[in-house]
Subunit: 198 residues, 2 copies
Protein backbone atom coordinates (compact mmCIF):
# COMPACT_ATOMS: atom_id res chain seq x y z
CA UNK A 1 0.00 0.00 0.00
CA UNK A 2 1.88 3.10 -1.17
CA UNK A 3 1.07 6.78 -1.12
CA UNK A 4 0.66 7.80 2.52
CA UNK A 5 4.36 8.85 2.74
CA UNK A 6 4.16 12.22 4.44
CA UNK A 7 1.82 10.90 7.11
CA UNK A 8 4.00 7.78 7.27
CA UNK A 9 7.13 9.78 7.92
CA UNK A 10 5.25 11.71 10.55
CA UNK A 11 4.03 8.53 12.20
CA UNK A 12 7.57 7.22 12.40
CA UNK A 13 8.77 10.42 14.05
CA UNK A 14 5.92 10.28 16.55
CA UNK A 15 6.79 6.69 17.43
CA UNK A 16 10.47 7.58 17.73
CA UNK A 17 9.62 10.57 19.87
CA UNK A 18 7.57 8.53 22.27
CA UNK A 19 10.10 5.72 22.60
CA UNK A 20 13.37 7.68 22.54
CA UNK A 21 12.07 10.15 25.10
CA UNK A 22 10.76 7.59 27.53
CA UNK A 23 13.40 4.86 27.15
CA UNK A 24 16.53 6.55 25.85
CA UNK A 25 18.32 6.36 22.51
CA UNK A 26 20.46 3.26 22.75
CA UNK A 27 17.87 1.32 24.66
CA UNK A 28 15.31 1.57 21.85
CA UNK A 29 15.75 -0.53 18.72
CA UNK A 30 14.73 0.47 15.23
CA UNK A 31 12.46 -2.59 15.20
CA UNK A 32 10.56 -1.29 18.21
CA UNK A 33 10.00 2.07 16.58
CA UNK A 34 8.81 0.45 13.35
CA UNK A 35 6.43 -1.79 15.30
CA UNK A 36 5.03 1.16 17.23
CA UNK A 37 4.52 3.05 13.97
CA UNK A 38 2.72 0.02 12.53
CA UNK A 39 5.12 -0.82 9.73
CA UNK A 40 8.23 -2.83 9.01
CA UNK A 41 11.81 -1.85 9.68
CA UNK A 42 12.55 -1.89 5.99
CA UNK A 43 9.92 0.79 5.38
CA UNK A 44 11.41 2.89 8.13
CA UNK A 45 14.78 2.66 6.39
CA UNK A 46 13.15 3.90 3.23
CA UNK A 47 12.28 7.17 5.00
CA UNK A 48 15.40 7.53 7.18
CA UNK A 49 18.87 6.53 6.14
CA UNK A 50 20.06 5.42 9.59
CA UNK A 51 19.16 5.30 13.23
CA UNK A 52 21.29 8.40 13.83
CA UNK A 53 19.25 10.18 11.19
CA UNK A 54 16.09 9.21 13.03
CA UNK A 55 17.48 10.44 16.34
CA UNK A 56 18.17 13.80 14.73
CA UNK A 57 14.63 13.91 13.33
CA UNK A 58 13.26 13.10 16.78
CA UNK A 59 14.93 16.15 18.30
CA UNK A 60 14.17 18.41 15.33
CA UNK A 61 10.50 17.65 15.83
CA UNK A 62 10.70 18.80 19.45
CA UNK A 63 12.43 22.09 18.71
CA UNK A 64 9.64 24.47 17.71
CA UNK A 65 6.84 23.18 19.97
CA UNK A 66 9.16 23.38 22.95
CA UNK A 67 10.15 26.98 22.32
CA UNK A 68 6.55 27.94 21.60
CA UNK A 69 5.46 26.54 24.93
CA UNK A 70 8.01 28.58 26.87
CA UNK A 71 7.01 31.74 25.04
CA UNK A 72 3.36 31.03 25.75
CA UNK A 73 3.96 30.57 29.47
CA UNK A 74 5.95 33.79 29.52
CA UNK A 75 3.33 35.74 27.61
CA UNK A 76 0.42 34.52 29.67
CA UNK A 77 1.89 35.47 33.04
CA UNK A 78 0.68 38.79 34.40
CA UNK A 79 3.33 41.02 35.96
CA UNK A 80 6.84 42.29 35.48
CA UNK A 81 9.84 40.55 34.00
CA UNK A 82 10.75 38.60 37.16
CA UNK A 83 7.21 37.30 37.51
CA UNK A 84 6.97 36.30 33.87
CA UNK A 85 10.23 34.36 33.96
CA UNK A 86 9.31 32.71 37.23
CA UNK A 87 6.07 31.60 35.59
CA UNK A 88 8.09 29.47 33.18
CA UNK A 89 9.57 27.56 36.09
CA UNK A 90 6.19 27.15 37.76
CA UNK A 91 4.66 25.71 34.61
CA UNK A 92 7.67 23.47 34.17
CA UNK A 93 7.21 22.17 37.71
CA UNK A 94 3.63 21.30 36.85
CA UNK A 95 4.78 19.36 33.78
CA UNK A 96 7.48 17.61 35.76
CA UNK A 97 4.94 16.18 38.18
CA UNK A 98 3.32 14.13 35.45
CA UNK A 99 4.37 10.48 35.73
CA UNK A 100 5.62 10.23 32.15
CA UNK A 101 7.93 13.24 32.48
CA UNK A 102 11.56 12.27 32.00
CA UNK A 103 13.49 15.52 31.88
CA UNK A 104 14.66 17.40 28.81
CA UNK A 105 15.00 15.27 25.69
CA UNK A 106 17.77 17.47 24.34
CA UNK A 107 19.88 17.27 27.47
CA UNK A 108 19.31 13.57 27.98
CA UNK A 109 20.32 12.84 24.41
CA UNK A 110 23.46 14.95 24.72
CA UNK A 111 24.32 13.11 27.93
CA UNK A 112 23.80 9.71 26.37
CA UNK A 113 25.74 10.57 23.22
CA UNK A 114 28.50 12.48 25.01
CA UNK A 115 31.08 10.22 23.41
CA UNK A 116 30.03 11.39 19.93
CA UNK A 117 30.63 15.16 20.08
CA UNK A 118 29.81 15.84 16.44
CA UNK A 119 26.58 13.83 16.35
CA UNK A 120 23.81 15.64 14.43
CA UNK A 121 21.41 15.23 17.34
CA UNK A 122 23.78 17.06 19.65
CA UNK A 123 24.09 19.91 17.19
CA UNK A 124 20.31 20.14 17.02
CA UNK A 125 20.10 20.20 20.80
CA UNK A 126 22.75 22.90 21.05
CA UNK A 127 20.94 25.00 18.44
CA UNK A 128 17.69 24.59 20.32
CA UNK A 129 19.19 25.86 23.57
CA UNK A 130 20.84 28.73 21.73
CA UNK A 131 17.49 29.77 20.32
CA UNK A 132 16.04 29.86 23.79
CA UNK A 133 19.03 31.82 25.05
CA UNK A 134 18.65 34.29 22.18
CA UNK A 135 14.98 34.78 22.90
CA UNK A 136 15.73 35.49 26.56
CA UNK A 137 18.58 37.82 25.66
CA UNK A 138 16.41 39.81 23.26
CA UNK A 139 13.61 40.01 25.79
CA UNK A 140 16.00 41.23 28.49
CA UNK A 141 17.58 43.74 26.15
CA UNK A 142 14.16 45.21 25.39
CA UNK A 143 13.66 45.71 29.12
CA UNK A 144 16.87 47.68 29.43
CA UNK A 145 18.93 45.06 31.26
CA UNK A 146 22.58 46.11 31.22
CA UNK A 147 24.13 42.74 30.28
CA UNK A 148 21.24 40.80 28.73
CA UNK A 149 23.38 37.94 27.43
CA UNK A 150 24.85 37.20 30.83
CA UNK A 151 21.46 37.23 32.49
CA UNK A 152 19.98 35.03 29.76
CA UNK A 153 22.74 32.49 30.32
CA UNK A 154 22.24 32.54 34.06
CA UNK A 155 18.53 31.82 33.64
CA UNK A 156 19.32 29.07 31.17
CA UNK A 157 21.72 27.49 33.65
CA UNK A 158 18.96 27.43 36.25
CA UNK A 159 16.52 25.98 33.77
CA UNK A 160 18.78 23.17 32.60
CA UNK A 161 19.97 22.61 36.14
CA UNK A 162 16.41 22.06 37.24
CA UNK A 163 15.87 19.51 34.46
CA UNK A 164 18.90 17.55 35.65
CA UNK A 165 18.21 17.80 39.38
CA UNK A 166 14.50 17.04 39.16
CA UNK A 167 15.19 14.04 36.97
CA UNK A 168 17.68 12.71 39.51
CA UNK A 169 15.67 13.31 42.67
CA UNK A 170 12.20 13.09 41.17
CA UNK A 171 11.31 16.14 43.22
CA UNK A 172 9.72 18.89 41.15
CA UNK A 173 9.95 21.45 43.96
CA UNK A 174 13.51 22.14 42.81
CA UNK A 175 11.97 23.84 39.81
CA UNK A 176 10.20 26.33 42.01
CA UNK A 177 13.48 26.92 43.84
CA UNK A 178 15.10 27.60 40.49
CA UNK A 179 12.32 30.04 39.68
CA UNK A 180 12.98 31.98 42.87
CA UNK A 181 16.68 32.11 42.06
CA UNK A 182 15.83 33.39 38.60
CA UNK A 183 13.68 36.09 40.10
CA UNK A 184 16.49 37.16 42.45
CA UNK A 185 18.97 37.36 39.58
CA UNK A 186 16.60 39.38 37.40
CA UNK A 187 15.74 41.77 40.19
CA UNK A 188 19.42 42.27 40.91
CA UNK A 189 20.06 42.98 37.23
CA UNK A 190 17.15 45.43 37.18
CA UNK A 191 18.59 47.17 40.22
CA UNK A 192 15.43 46.64 42.23
CA UNK A 193 15.51 47.30 45.98
CA UNK A 194 17.40 44.46 47.65
CA UNK A 195 15.37 41.84 49.45
CA UNK A 196 16.41 38.74 51.29
CA UNK A 197 15.14 36.03 48.96
CA UNK A 198 11.91 34.30 49.95
Amino acid sequence: MPRPSEPTRERIIQAANSLFYSEGIRRVSVDEIAAKAGLTKRTLYYHFKSKDDLVAAYLSARDQPNLALFRKWFAEAEGGLPVKVEAIFKNLARSARHPKWKGCGFLRTSAELANMPGHPAIRIGAAHKKKFEDWLRTTFAEQGIADPLKLARQILLLLDGSFAVVLLHRDASYMETAGEAARTLIETALGKPRRKQG
Copy 2:
Protein backbone atom coordinates in the same frame (compact mmCIF):
# COMPACT_ATOMS: atom_id res chain seq x y z
CA MET B 1 46.36 -17.29 39.20
CA PRO B 2 44.24 -16.76 42.32
CA ARG B 3 44.64 -14.54 45.35
CA PRO B 4 44.80 -10.97 44.14
CA SER B 5 41.03 -10.46 44.68
CA GLU B 6 40.89 -7.09 46.40
CA PRO B 7 43.23 -5.49 43.86
CA THR B 8 41.32 -7.38 41.16
CA ARG B 9 38.00 -5.93 42.23
CA GLU B 10 39.60 -2.51 42.32
CA ARG B 11 41.05 -2.95 38.86
CA ILE B 12 37.63 -3.85 37.51
CA ILE B 13 36.09 -0.75 39.04
CA GLN B 14 38.83 1.42 37.59
CA ALA B 15 38.24 -0.05 34.13
CA ALA B 16 34.50 0.40 34.50
CA ASN B 17 35.00 3.96 35.66
CA SER B 18 37.13 4.86 32.69
CA LEU B 19 34.83 3.25 30.13
CA PHE B 20 31.42 4.09 31.58
CA TYR B 21 32.39 7.71 32.09
CA SER B 22 33.82 8.26 28.66
CA GLU B 23 31.44 6.12 26.57
CA GLY B 24 28.22 5.82 28.54
CA ILE B 25 26.59 2.88 30.31
CA ARG B 26 24.73 1.07 27.58
CA ARG B 27 27.40 1.67 25.01
CA VAL B 28 30.04 -0.22 27.00
CA SER B 29 29.92 -4.01 27.16
CA VAL B 30 30.99 -6.14 30.08
CA ASP B 31 33.52 -7.78 27.75
CA GLU B 32 35.18 -4.45 27.09
CA ILE B 33 35.51 -3.73 30.78
CA ALA B 34 36.96 -7.15 31.46
CA ALA B 35 39.43 -6.73 28.63
CA LYS B 36 40.49 -3.32 29.90
CA ALA B 37 40.95 -4.78 33.38
CA GLY B 38 43.08 -7.55 31.89
CA LEU B 39 40.88 -10.51 32.77
CA THR B 40 37.97 -12.52 31.42
CA LYS B 41 34.32 -11.74 31.68
CA ARG B 42 33.77 -14.83 33.80
CA THR B 43 36.15 -13.49 36.43
CA LEU B 44 34.37 -10.17 36.40
CA TYR B 45 31.10 -11.97 37.06
CA TYR B 46 32.73 -13.66 40.01
CA HIS B 47 33.23 -10.24 41.62
CA PHE B 48 30.02 -8.53 40.46
CA LYS B 49 26.69 -10.22 40.12
CA SER B 50 25.46 -8.22 37.12
CA LYS B 51 26.22 -5.27 34.91
CA ASP B 52 23.82 -3.16 36.95
CA ASP B 53 25.80 -4.05 40.05
CA LEU B 54 28.95 -2.88 38.31
CA VAL B 55 27.33 0.38 37.28
CA ALA B 56 26.41 1.02 40.91
CA ALA B 57 29.98 0.25 41.98
CA TYR B 58 31.29 2.67 39.35
CA LEU B 59 29.31 5.55 40.81
CA SER B 60 30.00 4.56 44.42
CA ALA B 61 33.69 4.81 43.69
CA ARG B 62 33.25 8.39 42.43
CA ASP B 63 31.28 9.59 45.43
CA GLN B 64 33.91 10.42 48.06
CA PRO B 65 36.71 11.71 45.80
CA ASN B 66 34.28 14.04 44.08
CA LEU B 67 33.00 15.57 47.30
CA ALA B 68 36.53 15.84 48.65
CA LEU B 69 37.61 17.78 45.59
CA PHE B 70 34.81 20.34 45.96
CA ARG B 71 35.63 20.80 49.64
CA LYS B 72 39.29 21.25 48.80
CA TRP B 73 38.58 23.93 46.18
CA PHE B 74 36.32 25.70 48.65
CA ALA B 75 38.85 25.54 51.47
CA GLU B 76 41.78 26.70 49.38
CA ALA B 77 40.09 29.86 48.09
CA GLU B 78 40.95 33.01 49.98
CA GLY B 79 38.07 35.34 50.74
CA GLY B 80 34.50 35.42 51.93
CA LEU B 81 31.70 32.96 51.27
CA PRO B 82 30.83 34.27 47.78
CA VAL B 83 34.44 34.08 46.68
CA LYS B 84 34.93 30.59 48.05
CA VAL B 85 31.84 29.25 46.30
CA GLU B 86 32.75 30.99 43.09
CA ALA B 87 36.13 29.28 43.31
CA ILE B 88 34.41 25.92 42.95
CA PHE B 89 32.97 27.01 39.61
CA LYS B 90 36.29 28.39 38.44
CA ASN B 91 38.06 25.13 39.21
CA LEU B 92 35.28 23.21 37.53
CA ALA B 93 35.69 25.33 34.42
CA ARG B 94 39.36 24.43 34.38
CA SER B 95 38.50 20.71 34.60
CA ALA B 96 35.88 21.06 31.89
CA ARG B 97 38.43 22.39 29.42
CA HIS B 98 40.33 19.11 29.47
CA PRO B 99 39.56 17.08 26.34
CA LYS B 100 38.52 13.96 28.24
CA TRP B 101 35.96 15.79 30.33
CA LYS B 102 32.42 14.53 29.69
CA GLY B 103 30.24 16.19 32.28
CA CYS B 104 29.05 14.75 35.56
CA GLY B 105 29.03 10.96 35.72
CA PHE B 106 26.13 10.93 38.15
CA LEU B 107 23.91 13.15 36.04
CA ARG B 108 24.78 11.43 32.80
CA THR B 109 23.98 8.05 34.29
CA SER B 110 20.66 9.27 35.65
CA ALA B 111 19.83 10.71 32.24
CA GLU B 112 20.70 7.49 30.45
CA LEU B 113 18.82 5.29 32.93
CA ALA B 114 15.85 7.62 33.29
CA ASN B 115 13.54 4.79 32.30
CA MET B 116 14.60 2.77 35.37
CA PRO B 117 13.70 5.07 38.28
CA GLY B 118 14.61 2.61 41.03
CA HIS B 119 17.99 1.64 39.60
CA PRO B 120 20.69 1.38 42.31
CA ALA B 121 22.99 3.68 40.35
CA ILE B 122 20.37 6.42 40.35
CA ARG B 123 19.93 6.09 44.10
CA ILE B 124 23.68 6.41 44.54
CA GLY B 125 23.73 9.50 42.35
CA ALA B 126 20.84 11.07 44.25
CA ALA B 127 22.59 10.37 47.57
CA HIS B 128 25.79 11.91 46.24
CA LYS B 129 24.05 15.14 45.28
CA LYS B 130 22.23 15.22 48.60
CA LYS B 131 25.56 14.99 50.42
CA PHE B 132 26.84 17.96 48.48
CA GLU B 133 23.66 19.88 49.17
CA ASP B 134 23.94 19.05 52.89
CA TRP B 135 27.52 20.22 53.02
CA LEU B 136 26.58 23.52 51.36
CA ARG B 137 23.57 23.93 53.65
CA THR B 138 25.68 23.35 56.77
CA THR B 139 28.34 25.73 55.54
CA PHE B 140 25.77 28.42 54.80
CA ALA B 141 24.05 27.89 58.17
CA GLU B 142 27.38 28.45 59.94
CA GLN B 143 27.69 31.76 58.15
CA GLY B 144 24.32 32.91 59.40
CA ILE B 145 22.39 32.65 56.14
CA ALA B 146 18.67 32.95 56.84
CA ASP B 147 17.46 30.08 54.64
CA PRO B 148 20.57 27.93 54.13
CA LEU B 149 18.71 25.01 52.50
CA LYS B 150 17.18 27.19 49.84
CA LEU B 151 20.48 28.83 49.02
CA ALA B 152 22.24 25.46 48.94
CA ARG B 153 19.69 24.18 46.45
CA GLN B 154 20.04 27.25 44.28
CA ILE B 155 23.80 26.81 44.11
CA LEU B 156 23.34 23.13 43.34
CA LEU B 157 20.98 24.00 40.49
CA LEU B 158 23.62 26.28 39.01
CA LEU B 159 26.27 23.63 39.42
CA ASP B 160 24.30 20.85 37.77
CA GLY B 161 23.02 23.25 35.16
CA SER B 162 26.56 24.12 34.23
CA PHE B 163 27.43 20.42 33.85
CA ALA B 164 24.54 19.98 31.45
CA VAL B 165 25.04 23.17 29.46
CA VAL B 166 28.80 22.86 29.13
CA LEU B 167 28.45 19.27 28.00
CA LEU B 168 25.98 20.31 25.33
CA HIS B 169 27.79 23.39 24.01
CA ARG B 170 31.34 22.34 24.86
CA ASP B 171 31.89 25.87 26.12
CA ALA B 172 33.33 25.94 29.64
CA SER B 173 32.75 29.68 30.00
CA TYR B 174 29.21 28.88 31.10
CA MET B 175 30.73 27.60 34.31
CA GLU B 176 32.19 30.98 35.08
CA THR B 177 28.81 32.53 34.33
CA ALA B 178 27.27 30.09 36.80
CA GLY B 179 29.88 31.11 39.36
CA GLU B 180 28.93 34.76 38.99
CA ALA B 181 25.26 33.89 39.42
CA ALA B 182 26.14 31.92 42.55
CA ARG B 183 28.00 34.91 43.91
CA THR B 184 25.02 37.19 43.27
CA LEU B 185 22.66 34.80 45.03
CA ILE B 186 24.94 34.43 48.04
CA GLU B 187 25.49 38.16 48.32
CA THR B 188 21.76 38.72 48.15
CA ALA B 189 21.20 36.14 50.89
CA LEU B 190 23.90 37.78 53.00
CA GLY B 191 22.22 41.13 52.57
CA LYS B 192 25.33 42.71 51.05
CA PRO B 193 25.05 46.08 49.35
CA ARG B 194 23.35 45.63 46.01
CA ARG B 195 25.52 45.67 42.91
CA LYS B 196 24.66 45.21 39.30
CA GLN B 197 26.23 41.84 38.55
CA GLY B 198 29.52 41.81 36.68
